[in-house]
């Protein structure tokens, strides 16, 4: 098997360049999808027969909740790769994930709370799904705290990688908490492949939003990754061209 692609993946200047090239390819489709989904979700989709127009929060709540979990998984995967193959670029990618993930965890919490008030009559209940999401926020905070607590980058990389990997056990707990406990939170309705329980004109904008947010995240991650690589490699010779270009 030809492993050159793998080694090239590990080379900072290469990743820096590739990331730069790829960014617009994710950013523009993301923007288009999100705008289209906004139109579809806010204008085209009919009001829900139970929740009226209140259900439209789903178009921001579900994607941000999805992102918060997806970003954590990405972070843990990157951290594991960094730890196992000693790949600095992977550590840089993991480091770039945390802040974005924490942001969208907060967004999912707040939009969820805003949705909870009209639907459940209260902003917050100590429901397993909700609590688990709050714990996810603390995981992100712990990860960032650990990183901030260790000055040496290489050491911070490895220590936080261990934490990210250990913390991944929480992700399935969050995803499946709704089924394990009888939560008042919505059970997965989109990801059920057999029979989506939503009419198409509601579902399609949601799917577009999900894809749009995912692409958006990749674009943001790529920019952050470039910054991180540049910061770490500031002593290397290739940075000369990259910084002045």
């Amino acid at each position: 098997m030809d492993w050159t692609w793998f080694h090239r993946l590990a080379s900072p200047p290469h990743v820096y360049r590739i990331a730069g090239t790829l960014t617009p390819w994710f950013a523009w489709p993301a923007g288009l999808l999100i705008v289209a989904a906004l139109y579809g979700g806010l204008v085209l989709a009919p009001p829900d027969y139970q929740q009226g127009d209140g259900f439209r929060i789903i178009y921001v709540h579900a994607p941000s909740a999805w992102l918060s979990l997806m970003i954590y998984s990405t972070m843990a995967t990157a951290a594991a790769i960094g730890l196992i193959w000693r790949m600095k670029v992977a550590h840089a990618a993991a480091a770039s994930c945390a802040a974005v993930g924490a942001w969208f965890t907060v967004v999912s919490l707040v939009t969820g709370m805003l949705w909870g008030k009209p639907m459940w009559g209260t902003y917050w209940v100590w429901d397993p799904r909700l609590t688990a999401q709050l714990i996810l926020l603390f995981l992100y905070l712990g990860y960032m705290g650990l990183r901030a607590g260790i000055e040496d980058t290489a050491r911070a990389d490895k220590a936080s990688a261990v934490l990210a990997i250990v913390g991944i056990v929480n992700v399935p707990i969050i995803r499946f908490s709704v089924e394990w406990w009888n939560s008042i939170h919505q059970a997965p309705s989109v990801m059920k492949m057999d029979r989506p329980s939503m009419p198409a004109d509601m579902l399609v904008p949601l799917l577009m939003m999900l894809v749009g947010f995912t692409l958006y995240f990749v674009a943001v991650l790529l920019v952050r990754l470039r910054a991180e690589i540049l910061r770490r490699e500031r002593a290397s010779s290739w940075v000369r061209e990259a910084a002045t270009a």
Partner: protein, 54 residues
């Protein structure tokens, strides 16, 4: 239009949600770009004083 803005009585929940989400979306773009710009500036600063230390 007014209908649209009132969101069937849910305006006070729907619009803040959308606002917060898109603030987060924009802020994250801004933060990422700022981090990149700062890293480039730092690298350039280091290059300009190069040879003094190492």
């Amino acid at each position: 239009m007014n209908d649209f803005l009132s969101m069937g009585g849910y305006a006070q929940y729907v619009w803040p949600s959308y606002a917060l989400t898109f603030v987060a979306v924009i802020v994250n773009i801004a933060l990422a770009r700022r981090a990149h710009a700062a890293a480039r500036a730092e690298a350039r600063r280091r290059l300009s004083i190069e040879g003094e230390d190492r």
